[in-house]
């Protein structure tokens, strides 16, 4: 997909975002070494369960992390045809991390300094180059401002349509484009008067109206009714083929990911455990997958299981403790594919994300032999 010569649109490298845990003397390692690429006109799906760090990773890209210490390492390179930038430029000047045996022990961070620097970098990109939509669309629109005004604000800020008339026209065009019925009426209504599905359409319109290079969709269907969900996915599918916009799609819903994504990254415990084309990662063949991906897919009720009223396959063991992350593979305690030969390694060494086939990377000792 991605040509080797032109850099990918978004290249996240070893991103680390930590938060302090309750006692302020330990960290929640929310995102712990995530590397990811989004190519031009490509949709990359990030799938994982709650606590896997997928949303935090997306927010880190947007520079929207406000809790401390927040982003403490890595690089995020953004390269559209208009702008080339490292979104974490100069981060190392504000952060000093002391590590011991690969574990972060102490973080010195000049919060306000980095906050300012980050705002400077992101200021010209947010909304214009990278747009974002969120879950819970009704809460994500300002309840005190009409939908139309929120749209025209984005348009005036980021496009050449500066006059009220132009921006209104443009806003109406986009409302129509996301298939909101009677756009003129909706233009003047407040978000509270609209359903969740309609609000999400308005959010999408707002995000796309500034014609960004990258769209980050953070759980765009979560919290919506099932029928509405599929309609939103339909819309996104359509807009994807029409506009060819690159998308970073975050979702816990495998069916949404499988419908929209070209490539899929599976996250577990703050790291990407598997990364590859959607067909391979979400496909039937469990033998070439990370054990977590395989188990996750198996726990979704399949038609066969429903028919037979079979018990669902589950992933045993506790959810990963992201504060006291174990030294070895993060999935080790719950993994059902540990063989005696690799057990030792699994328990003590964190595997790398390794290419097992062209364009298919897995972070597991099974494939590292």
């Amino acid at each position: 997909m991605t040509a080797a010569i032109t850099p990918p649109l978004l290249k996240i490298d070893n991103l680390r975002t930590y938060f302090y845990a309750r006692s302020k003397h330990s960290f929640v390692r929310a995102v712990d070494g995530v590397s990811l690429e989004v190519g031009h006109s490509e949709t990359v799906g990030v799938v994982g369960e709650s606590g896997s760090g997928k949303s935090i990773a997306a927010m880190s890209v947007m520079g929207l992390i406000s809790a401390g210490p927040g982003v403490i390492g890595g690089s995020i390179k953004f390269a559209s045809h208009r702008v080339q930038k490292n979104l974490l430029e100069g981060l190392d000047k504000f952060v000093k991390v002391e590590e011991q045996h690969g574990r972060v022990m102490v973080v010195h961070k000049d919060d306000s300094g980095w906050q300012n620097a980050s705002e400077r970098i992101m200021g010209s990109l947010r909304g214009k180059e990278i747009a974002m939509i969120f879950q819970n669309p009704r809460a994500s629109l300002n309840p005190y401002i009409t939908v139309g005004e929120q749209l025209t604000e984005a348009i005036r800020l980021h496009t050449a349509n500066k006059s009220p008339k132009e921006s209104t026209e443009r806003a109406l065009y986009w409302l129509e484009r996301v298939k909101i019925d009677s756009p003129r009426l909706r233009f003047d209504s407040y978000p509270s008067a609209m359903s969740g599905g309609m609000c999400q359409r308005a959010m999408i319109a707002m995000a796309l109206s500034s014609e960004p290079s990258l769209l980050i969709a953070d759980e765009p269907t979560t919290g919506l009714d099932a029928t509405i969900q599929s309609k939103i996915v339909d819309l996104m599918e359509e807009l994807k083929s029409e506009t060819g916009i690159s998308t970073l799609l975050i979702s816990h819903d495998i069916s949404v990911i499988s419908r929209l994504a070209d490539r899929v990254a599976v996250m577990y415990g703050g790291a990407v455990v598997e990364y590859g084309s959607a067909q391979l990662v979400l496909g039937e063949d469990a033998s070439i997958k990370h054990p977590y991906t395989a188990a996750l897919l198996a726990s979704v009720p399949s038609e066969q299981k429903i028919r037979d009223k079979d018990n669902l396959q589950t992933i045993d063991g506790d959810v990963l403790d992201t504060i006291n992350v174990p030294p070895g593979c993060r999935f080790f305690a719950r993994c059902n594919q540990v063989t005696p030969e690799i057990k030792e390694k699994c328990a003590t060494h964190h595997p790398d994300l390794r290419e097992i086939a062209p364009g298919h990377q897995v972070r597991c000792w099974r494939f590292n032999g």
Binding site: A21, R22, S23, H25, V107
Partner: protein
């Protein structure tokens, strides 16, 4: 540069952490200071009750007018009549302590009952209670008190009863809102569905577990308000009358010498008021943060 450290071991159970790691240092300091003040007030109240004072608070000493602190065995100096300021301050606590407690009890007890009725029962009772609280809230407290003074007499207990009543709406609204919040989170319904008795739900789950912080704060704030109110009324001439001392009339009478540059007789009680109210307010704040487990600020 801020420093964040990770202790190498397991963090384990939060509740087993030593207290200074569990809560923000500021909160602990607030509470410590507040408790100190409360203890001082209590001790002084008892001392005053049994007349265990360094000097007779009403003993006039013409020889030593406006003595500065630490002079001649007068720890805090003397006032414009040469009376010992420290003794008068200690005696002054008598003026507000019991009446203040009365006012607080009225606001808390009536406020809790009305709050529970309004939040838990809802419906028509709620409407009546909300009307009542709005009604009380329509009066400026001091104006209502002046009205009562005009109609009856300037008695501190009457005044504190009015203060207690005017304190009801705050408590009622806070409790009712809390209950509504709990109801919104299916909390109360879950207790009912389990089959718990209404009494248990209200007393144990609502009041004890979820409203105690709120009530403590109201109580501490109430004490602060009682002090300020007593002061204001003394200033207006309706409080404790000279020669009996109260903090209010000490500030007031001392203030007559203020413009001549004799600050101390008025400033000493003003500072006493300041530190005491600060103590009560910070105690409430700190306890709230600790009980509600809201860390830092």
């Amino acid at each position: 540069m801020k420093k964040y450290t990770q202790t190498s071991g397991e963090i384990g159970d939060f509740s087993q952490l030593p207290i200074w790691q569990k809560y923000a240092l500021v909160d602990l300091l607030y509470v410590a200071y507040g408790l100190l003040i409360v203890a001082l007030v209590l001790v002084s109240y008892v001392l005053g009750m049994f007349n265990l004072l360094p000097h007779d608070p009403q003993q006039i000493n013409i020889e030593l007018l406006m003595a500065s602190p630490l002079s001649d065995g007068y720890l805090l100096g003397t006032d414009f009549l040469g009376r010992d300021i420290l003794s008068r301050l200690i005696m002054g606590i008598q003026a507000y302590f019991l009446p203040g407690l009365l006012a607080i009890s009225i606001s808390l007890i009536v406020g809790v009952v009305l709050g529970v009725l309004s939040g838990y029962r809802g419906g028509r009772i709620e409407t009546v209670i909300v009307y009542f609280t709005n009604l009380i809230d329509s009066f400026p407290r001091l104006v209502l008190i002046l009205l009562v003074i005009a109609a009856f007499k300037p008695d501190i207990y009457y005044i504190m009863i009015v203060m207690g009543i005017t304190g009801i709406p705050t408590v009622t609204t806070a409790i009712a809102n809390k209950i509504r919040f709990l109801a919104q989170k299916s909390f109360i319904e879950a207790a009912i569905a389990l089959g718990l008795r209404t009494r248990v739900i209200i007393m144990k789950h609502i009041l004890w577990y979820n409203c105690r912080a709120l009530l403590i704060i109201q109580a501490t704030l109430g004490m602060g308000e009682a002090i300020l109110l007593e002061t204001s009324l003394s200033y207006l001439g309706f409080g404790v009358q000279e020669p009996v001392s109260s903090w209010g009339n000490m500030v007031q009478s001392g203030a007559n010498y203020f413009l001549q540059g004799n600050f101390w007789p008025s400033t000493a009680p003003a500072l006493a008021i300041l530190f005491t109210i600060l103590g009560f307010n910070l105690l409430g704040d700190g306890l709230n943060n600790i009980l509600e487990d809201r860390r830092g600020r």
